[in-house]
Symmetry: C2
Subunit: 330 residues, 2 copies
DNA sequence: TCCTAGCACTATAATTTTACGAGTGCTAAC
DNA sequence: GTTAGCACTCGTAAAATTATAGTGCTAGGA
């Protein structure tokens, strides 16, 4: 169990280290506390025994350990205050009633990335459980057409398709067939439904049925379930802990990797959650702070990704504020 | 005027430097040439006087100067041979008759980026001169709809629009109005045409005309003319000349910057063109190799971006091959 | 006239040496 | 429980040392 003063020492070290990015000595801390550096040193030693602080070498100042950050986030961080400037910048975006929610979110995360110098991520709800709302076909020329697929939640995807010797009429018939028989099916199941419900009957109505069937089958089997938007990856280049090119490369690779992001998305906790260091599955020096949001049918995950040495208070507050704005957006 | 042997010395230095990334000494060159290192040193001195070679310091080996690379590219490079493996990988993509051209291009550039470890760029033809082919509207719920715009060349864009108290019928009327009056107009001019041809008459047919007019006006005025795809930016992190984080940051910023890419796109030369070092407008250590392509209505620009110390022969050959494949694609 | 062997010379890179200082742990006194 | 004092540690930065890869130049040979 930590004493009140020990907690204060830890808090001060975390907060200073976040700003200065170099080990914090007892003298600096003692200036903020009304006690001598020797006293602080004793507390530091105790905190080190508790694995909350670390030394970079025998006679250096202290830096927070992963557990130290965890303790800070879980017990010490204060979330009451919200930077007025930060708040204003976000409110302007949500005040614009014209803007669809998706655009508000994108813009907000762009703004947050610029304000904080951390990267941000929106993970849209995977379209797996979206239902097919409508398909449209726009013929471009004799053997090229665009197939557009819209889901019930407004997810749109389009694909160019090559056809040969297929009449416009046949295309229209096929589209009608699909719009009549398959609309309302979960996107995931459309391919199989095409196979069992369209394939057997399409021959009756359509001459070049095989080609058309294949074309649509491909459109749906390629339907992308990923809906990921990472903003401000280059912000990592500003942080001293990532001056090493190999580290940067690893982080960029991870952020491009659907697998890693899926893990973040699949966490079912709806509240703000903080993954510190190795918990991030990205890099031991990286922290991910994420939350889910839901507004009617729209749902998804927001995340802010930066160095472990992150301004936790500010980021959590920002994310909380953003989540609330999204969920209250009419 | 260079002697034959001097040209060979320059050629060897460029080619070795491309591989080894460190200054090349006379001894290494003399091994490939049947003459002594002293002779090579004399030639090197002459090449340095001609500003084709540089030293990193008084007693170092030589590296090619920007003019040296230029001389190499313009006079020394041999393009006959094409790596069989490279060729195969690309041919597989174009052999797939099913695949639309745009997908072939994207995949090829992905493959080329992985093969060469350089970044690649496709700059689609700007949609400025595309003609409006069709618009479609899919209502999602009472006050949300998706507007889909398709151009004559198959460019598709969609946007979510918020509406309040607008009847489905009014929406349909507006869509018909646009599809009847404006289809065939260059995308650039749609906004003004909306203003002069739709705005005056829409009131006659549609109740909530103001809201609908504004919605469509916004869709078209936001129509993105940019169609840029940069692949493999992180490849820069593998090159020793870019181990400096600031340099990387600058390059990434430039590659995200439409301005810089527009310059590449706006060069009117249809053939392969090489921008070496400062000519690239990206970084003095970067080279851009670009070409335009055209296949029927589809046109655009391909570029490979890497270090100045680039395998010019291979990249130019690859790009030439790719361009031919695209242009011959039925 | 062109080529080459030989040698003195030079800048860098790698290694060692030195000096300094920020910060610690411990002890003893308050 | 707190603090002043002091010896000690380690890392960083600067200075000195060494090794080496490569040059330019000269003089002799084809």
């Amino acid at each position: 169990m930590l004493t009140k003063r020990q907690e204060n020492v830890l808090k001060l070290i975390v907060e200073h280290y976040v700003k200065l990015a170099k080990p914090i000595g007892s003298k600096l801390v003692s200036k903020k506390l009304k006690c001598s550096s020797a006293t602080v040193r004793n507390d530091m030693a105790a905190l080190e025994d508790a694995h909350l602080l670390e030394k970079t070498h025998t006679s250096s100042g202290r830096i927070p350990s992963e557990e130290g950050y965890r303790y800070y986030v879980d017990n010490l961080m204060e979330l009451k205050k919200m930077n007025a400037e930060d708040m204003l910048k976000l409110q302007i975006i949500f005040h614009n009633q014209q803007l669809p929610l998706a655009d508000c979110i994108t813009k907000s995360l762009q703004v947050i990335s610029d304000m904080t110098n951390y990267a941000t991520i929106v993970l849209g709800s995977s379209s797996h459980d979206n239902l097919l709302k409508q398909i449209e076909v726009v013929p471009i020329d004799a053997n090229k057409m665009i197939v557009i697929v819209v889901t019930d939640r407004g997810h749109v995807e389009h694909k160019e398709v090559k056809l040969e010797y297929v009449s416009l009429e046949d295309v229209k018939k096929t589209v009608n067939l699909i719009n009549n028989l398959i609309v309302g099916t979960p996107i995931d199941e459309v391919s199989t439904k095409l196979e069992y419900e369209i394939k057997p009957v399409i021959g009756k109505y359509v001459t070049q049925h095989e080609q058309l069937y294949n074309a649509f089958y491909n459109v749906f089997s390629d339907f992308s379930s990923h809906n990921v938007n990472v903003v401000g990856k280059t912000k990592f280049l500003d942080q001293p802990e990532f001056s090493n090119v190999d580290k940067i490369k690893n982080i960029f690779d991870k952020l491009d990797n659907e697998e890693v992001l899926r893990e973040i998305k699949e966490d079912q906790d709806n509240n703000i959650k903080v993954y510190i260091g190795h918990e991030s599955n990205i890099d031991d020096d990286v922290t991910v702070i994420k939350t889910k949001f839901r507004n009617g049918a729209d749902e998804g995950t927001l995340a802010i990704v930066g160095p472990k040495r992150m301004d936790y208070e500010r980021v959590v507050t920002l994310l909380e504020f953003l989540k609330d704005n999204i969920e209250d957006n009419n």
